[in-house]
Symmetry: C2
């Protein structure tokens, strides 16, 4: 925007070095030069700090200082427009709520002496007032804007609307939290039929008219609501007329003609000429940005990302700088470390003679800023380091300074105009999970941050990415449907529609994806055989989701748009037809369902990951156990750092083919003798199961839950199985069907299950207790340490537990007599998963050695939400903003969480050392783990693949607590 070619405009603030403008400019220069040099900046900061410290030490608040801080506070409270530029700024980094992330950052960088184009920020308060005033800016705010604008003009040596030396500005949104692309911006504002001529004289005509047409198009779209396609059609027509195919091939005259067409089009659409008064343009753009806070996509984005509507956005008006004014101009993006790998290399890309939007458009291949930024496709391109060594050196100084200042990896936007470097933005850079871990650990080693900070730096829920295959993000893919991201990881295989088919094909060496309307416990083996599971029904804690997470299998559940026809072996999704045997890829981390074979990648766990995990265990106050039903799962979880089994479900063992018939005979028995005969056959196999698990968890506690689900879950569903069971029980198929009918329940979740089965058929629990105790004695005899814990499910009333405890104790004591000298003496405790149990936990604790909160069921009952049915209406709730979270994913702290709190407090009132655990799915959810840690539980238990997540979350709970109290 300066007389780069027009020559001699020594006053241009862009060509700062040539500028001779008095105080402001020279001071700015000085600051800029000083700032990136860390010693100087460091000293300054240290001095400031020392002063503050001294003041604090002195113990008495000096009147002047107190008044000053009061004044600045009240100043900040009443101020609406915050100037930044020339090394001075009204705002600070901490003022994100008021200035938005962008505004606060620009102010902070300016204060730090980083070369930032000057400008000012309208605070989020103006956004609220703007709404209250039904879309009008107050006269006061307008006056403040003009005052600030004058300061910008002074620094830049340009004037807004000046036909000779026009100041151009950008008008951008900037909320407390980044909402990329959701709100509107206007660039090059200040151009008009008059000022464009000044710009043409200062730079050149082609640049000036290209800039003007960009401005008209953007302003017409954002402020005036003129459809964008009109301009695109005119542009295409112009290119056709000129016989060229690229924008860059158009001449100055073409742009000038196009500008004229654009202006006519705007007038035709709005009935008004395009505003030529830059101030009018400015008021229009500010209003449009504030309005865009409430546009549909912004509202949708906020709902999705849980951003409060009331926060509002700030508006940043900033002097334009241009990376497209010639070959000594450039624009780019840089990361202070590699955001994919986390390596400590300065990393970035740029385009010469280009504007930011050109980088985004992706028409030209960006160049690497240095050798370590080279990627596939940019191996041979020249680097910024080589092409513009001066600006690169300054950028290097600045990045080092900024990373040190913010103590985190930064993502910076920069523009070089006529050889001068401008920093447009810096913010904490997004990174892959892998990079997050590496950066955090490296920074500890570099003494930039503490271990606790490192622990807080890694998003616990993102660790899943490190443990599961992911979709190769660069690959082409056709997403045909989207369900719930029920169990992370990507998986591909041939579609099968039955568990049996999954087993058969998997044994034949094929990879399969099991597609079901919903899964049931009898599908377990097929699920195990499959690469991934896709269901049309069921939520985040449906059977498919829970089991898949336990197995570490990818699962997309509740994908309602699927129409599955088992009989025809076909699944329809909109126009797509997927047949038995077709390839399908699913991404259980995103919920996406893709046609065909999409490449996946399996990240490796680096040494930094192990280091980080070691740190977590050092500060955690709670342990992490695992939910595991097999020795394999137990070993896997142990390798992830599990310190015990918090939930070993015995029922999953019941579905193996060699057992299920006996299980069914046991359930359907009409008399005790038949039932006991069936149980006698189950005893040795259960004992064998437990032996394997006890061995795998040698020395660690293993909590075994006695049989829990409603019995009818185990019963035969198809004619073939019916016939087999009927024959083995010497019943007619009809008799058997009648028996099954009698076992049918309306609400099985609230029916005859859990300890109720144990009361009706105590022989079942007796068999299980015997199997557990005998297995423990056997493993002990092999010289290993065993810590079995027997857990009674679904206790609602203390009477149940007292009755069943007596049953269990009698068996334990009988087995102990058969094994003289054994030290095996299982702890006996209960799930707290029924609201009534939480309410009466003080009495229940009289009969329990431990509690384990079953937060899945506690949520189902506390919330009256069936996890298998909720998916039919929970999406409506989220959409309407009635609920923000799926309470099956993160514990509902205000409601169901209160039952956990009550249960914990009442239980410990009776037994101060009562062991408390959590074994619901929430045990693997970081947010929930933090909540549980706050309640003082001893451990959480989760599926093996969530163990690292929970360990990190548990450590974060402590770290955050310390941070907050500090």
């Amino acid at each position: 925007m300066t007389a780069r070619r027009g020559g001699g405009a020594g006053r241009s603030p862009v060509r700062r070095k040539a500028s001779s403008r008095k105080k402001t400019a020279s001071r700015k220069k000085a600051t800029r030069k000083k700032a990136p040099r860390k010693k100087a900046a460091g000293k300054k900061a240290a001095r400031k700090k020392a002063v503050r410290k001294k003041a604090a030490k002195a113990g008495s608040v000096r009147r002047g200082q107190g008044a000053a801080s009061r004044r600045s506070r009240s100043d900040a409270e009443s101020r609406r427009v915050f100037f930044f530029g020339g090394g001075q700024a009204d705002g600070r980094a901490e003022m994100r709520e008021l200035l938005g992330g962008k505004g606060a950052n620009l102010a902070e960088m300016t204060r730090l002496g980083v070369p930032v184009p000057p400008g000012f920020t309208l605070s989020t308060r103006v956004c609220a007032e703007f709404k209250d005033r039904t879309g009008k800016l107050s006269a006061g705010v307008k006056a403040d804007v003009l005052t600030a604008l004058a300061r910008v003009e002074k620094i830049m040596g340009l004037r807004f609307g000046d036909p000779e030396r026009p100041l151009l500005v950008s008008v951008r949104s900037g909320a407390r939290v980044s909402m990329p692309g959701m709100m509107d911006s206007v660039l090059n504002l200040g151009l008009s039929n008059h000022t464009v001529e000044g710009l043409a004289k200062l730079v050149d005509e082609r640049f000036a008219y290209d800039s003007y047409r960009r401005f008209i198009q953007m302003y017409a779209d954002v402020v005036l609501g003129v459809p964008l396609d009109r301009f695109e059609i005119m542009l295409e027509r112009a290119k056709l007329g000129a016989g060229v195919s690229l924008d860059t091939e158009l001449e100055a005259a073409d742009w000038r003609a196009l500008v004229s067409d654009y202006l006519d089009a705007v007038e035709a659409h709005t009935g008004q000429p395009f505003p030529q008064d830059p101030r009018q343009q400015l008021w229009g753009a500010i209003a449009a940005v504030f309005r865009s806070w409430r546009n549909d996509r912004a509202v949708a984005y906020r709902r999705l990302h849980r951003i409060e509507d009331a926060w509002g956005t700030a508006v940043n008006i900033q002097s334009m700088v241009f990376g497209n004014m010639g070959d000594d101009c450039a624009t780019g993006v840089a990361f202070t470390r590699n955001p994919s790998t986390g390596e400590s290399n300065f990393y970035g890309e740029y385009l010469k003679n280009a504007q930011g939007e050109d980088v985004v458009a992706g028409i030209r291949t960006p160049q690497p800023i240095n050798a370590s930024s080279r990627v596939v496709g940019s191996e041979d391109l020249p680097t910024l380091e080589a092409e513009m060594p001066g600006p690169y050196a300054e950028l290097t100084r600045i990045y080092k300074f900024l990373e040190k200042h913010y103590r985190d990896m930064q993502d910076m936007e920069f523009t070089i105009q006529g050889g001068t470097l401008w920093i447009l933005q810096t913010r904490t850079g997004k990174r892959t999970s892998h990079a997050a871990v590496r950066i955090a650990v490296d920074m500890v080693k570099e003494r930039l941050i503490s271990r606790e900070e490192a622990i807080l730096r890694v998003d616990a829920s993102s660790l899943d990415q490190l443990l599961h295959p992911t979709i190769d993000q660069s690959a082409d893919r056709e997403v045909i449907a989207r369900g719930l991201p029920a169990s992370p990881g990507a998986a591909g295989g041939r579609v099968v529609f039955s568990a049996e088919e999954a087993e058969t094909r998997s044994k034949a060496g094929e990879k399969v994806i099991l597609v079901r309307i919903e899964t049931s416990p009898e599908d377990i083996l097929g699920m195990h055989a499959a690469e991934g599971i896709l269901t049309a029904r069921g939520g985040m804690t449906s059977h498919a989701a829970v089991v898949a997470r336990g197995m570490g299998k990818s699962c997309v559940s509740g994908c309602a748009s699927l129409a599955i026809d088992y009989a025809a072996g076909v699944m329809r999704v909109e126009q797509h037809v997927v047949r038995d045997g077709d390839w399908l890829t699913i991404d259980g981390s995103s919920g996406e369902v893709m046609l065909g074979r999409v490449p996946t990648a399996t990240p490796e766990l680096g040494p930094e990951f192990r280091e980080l995990m070691r740190w977590t265990d050092r500060i955690s106050r709670i342990k992490v156990r695992t939910n595991a039903d097999t020795p394999e799962d137990a070993e896997l979880a142990r390798s992830f750092g599990a310190t015990g089994i918090g939930l070993c479900r015995t029922e999953h063992m019941f579905f193996q083919p060699r057992r299920i018939l006996n299980v069914r005979r046991m359930i359907l028995a009409r008399d005790m003798a038949t039932r006991e005969a069936a149980l006698a056959e189950l005893l040795p196999v259960q004992r064998e199961d437990f032996e394997g698990i006890f061995r795998a968890m040698e020395g660690l506690p293993v909590t075994v839950r006695l049989l829990d689900p409603p019995l009818h879950e185990f019963l035969p569903q198809n004619e073939e199985d019916l016939a087999a069971v009927a024959q083995s029980m010497r019943l007619s198929v009809q008799d058997l069907k009648n028996r099954l009918d009698a076992l049918h329940e309306f609400n099985p979740m609230l029916g005859h299950r859990g300890c109720r089965v144990g009361v009706s058929f105590p022989e079942i629990y007796r068999m299980q207790t015997r199997a557990i105790t005998e297995a423990a004695c056997a493993v002990e005899a092999q010289g290993m340490k065993v810590k079995p814990e027997i857990m009674v499910p679904l206790i609602a009333h203390p009477g149940e537990l007292s009755w069943l405890r007596a049953e269990v104790e009698a068996v334990v004591s009988a087995v102990r007599k058969e094994h003289p000298g054994t030290r095996v003496r299982p702890a006996i405790g209960t799930m707290i998963e029924v609201p009534r149990a939480a309410l009466t936990a003080d009495v229940i604790a009289e009969h329990a050695d431990f509690f384990s909160f079953g937060t899945n069921d506690l949520t189902q009952m506390g919330y009256a939400l069936s996890r298998d049915d909720a998916n039919s209406f929970l999406p409506d709730y989220i959409e309407q903003g009635i609920l923000r979270d799926d309470p099956f994913v993160s514990i509902d702290e205000e409601g169901v969480g209160q039952l956990v709190r009550m249960g914990a407090e009442l239980g410990r009132k009776t037994r101060p050392r009562l062991q408390l655990g959590v074994c619901g799915e929430h045990g693997g959810d970081p947010q929930s783990v933090r909540f549980f840690a706050g309640l003082g539980v001893d451990y959480v238990s989760c599926s093996p693949y969530r163990v690292p997540v929970a360990r990190l979350a548990a450590a974060q709970a402590v770290a955050r607590g310390r941070e907050e109290s500090a």
Copy 2:
């Protein structure tokens, strides 16, 4: 037992008038004479009272008195054996816990001067010690027994074991609460081969040996465990040998021979001769009675009646008196008022020359004691009044005195021996509900008791008997099965197996009993048409039970022994086969199912009932509303005193044939237009419903609950309906079936229902709100006062209510605009029926004008108990003693009740004047009503027939509170 014929035994305490024994006897006589004369007794009591009052007024406790009371207290604490006789007694009426009901009463009567045969009581402490000492009496207790026995001997002028003048005693149990027939007794104890001769001389030989053989038989059975049938066989053989058929025809010699046979039989069975030492007999009998506290039937009875095992029984040893010593002897039972009708007439029956057991045996028809006691069959028999005017006059004096003393109707046992009256027992008499009401009200008028006492005298749950037909207890009946007493009243009719059939036959004028495995909402009209409902499945709050209670229909539910075959039109119960069209009678008050036609009786509500109800309303702090869905129900409930409708369920209205098709179209609609078209057709009929209800409840509040049940409850089940719906919706039957499958839920209770339907399909709630508001405006326009309240069901989260409240308010405000000047402005509130709602009630209250606790669902979710499925295991729980109550019948105070308490407290914390109601089934259960009253709710709501029950229970809550604080 005295020388009635043996002459001259002037010392006999039985022939008291002839007795000249010094102090004790004469004092006794004096007392006895004085006691029944109320003036004297009244004066004495008044004097005592005055002394006590004076002492209390004086304010200082006199040392002497204090010491005395301390002494008597410590005396009572250490004493094990409590003597009574000759006007003196160690015990008192208040010592029931220690002496049992019988012992305390005998002591009290003795103190009052009533002629009671002397004796003594071994306290319940001895029972506990007896158990601790593994079945042995301590030496101290034995010594005390002998001391007391000596005092009895002195009074009676007889000696225990004396061959000339033997004292005979009875040994009987007596617990804190009467357990009739559950424990053992031994009479005539003290007879032996020696003493029987003395008795023969004193009375006559036949009497003596008859008494001896009775004693041997009883002692052998109770103490020695000899099977009774042996004695019966010998007796039969003796009668055969003598050629007679009645016991009374046997001669003295026959009895003597039989005694010898009996003694041989005992020795043959036990290997020991029959104990001839009366003391040994006594220790054996006492031990046997203590042991009988733990016999199977006593344990079962206690479990059934919730009597604590630890209470133990006392043992009463009392001098025998005989009503079978000749024609101047008699034995009988009398009530101070008529126990069936409650009329204030002395009422009773007696047998001349007989023992108590003869009255029970029912071989001879008892004679009426006076003219007002004559019943069918005893019209012509002579009365006691006529036959023994002296004893009758004394009995009259005594009964008046006792009723006045105990301030309640008494049930007395008496024996006249040789013209002398003895009172063996007096206790509060059992009575019919009808009599209970009348007696209570009469006694208030007689100034015997206060109104509050009268209110507490009537068992609230028994009021059902007054409102429903009952089985004629004298009728023969064959009970073939027993289910849950789900809805009271007896009903008979022909069996039908479908609701349609019930409607058809009922229209044809037949009485029918609808028999179903279970009922569903579409059976409503058939249920309405039937006399009663019988189901094989479902608990006390199953669909059938709830609906039947609402309709006031008899219902027996969960009758598991029924095997119903709809196709064959047949129901099997054990060996019985009941076919379609057969007569069946059910008793919903007892749960009995009877073959054929059993006569029933419908009691009338007397003026006393209305009077009592008026009193309840005067002291109640809470109101009673009703659950009613039709104008008819509303009117009925109003006639029973309901002060509003607490729950008007709109869904029941949906099942009427002219509506159901539109309801189904609404549910199955795939688009808003179809749904709104169906809703538009439903609007006028719903409005009509509400108009009728508002008119019926003019001036009283009516709470309408918006649609609650899962939508699939309304959907067609059979092929015919499916076809009809498919046609009307222009869908193929298969498409419709797929749609139905998609709506299927695993746990509908926790699924898409209640306000969740309102969120998914707000147009349904909008239609209902419009119907309610328009109806209110229409009725208001007719000059009536309307108080509609709109209730949103199944709120779990404040966000739901805030969202729906806005929806409802918008419709209300639109309708109000269409009716300028209307005062209709419905209150908007919510059910609290989800545990989470109770836990977050403070926040929910911000959006609610009122709360109504839905304790059915709160129990289902708080307890994790499906009311439709619980019956498969709850009986096991009750049987095992794990639970004492069905939590659907009486609110579970410790668990679910805490949620109600929390909800009430949190709600009122936010809105101190928040209206609180209870509309679950518990609203009609007396125990629960008391609990709710204690929580400060404003009203309970229950089915029309339970309204009087709830009103009485509400008043009792206040009366009991006052009694306890007094």
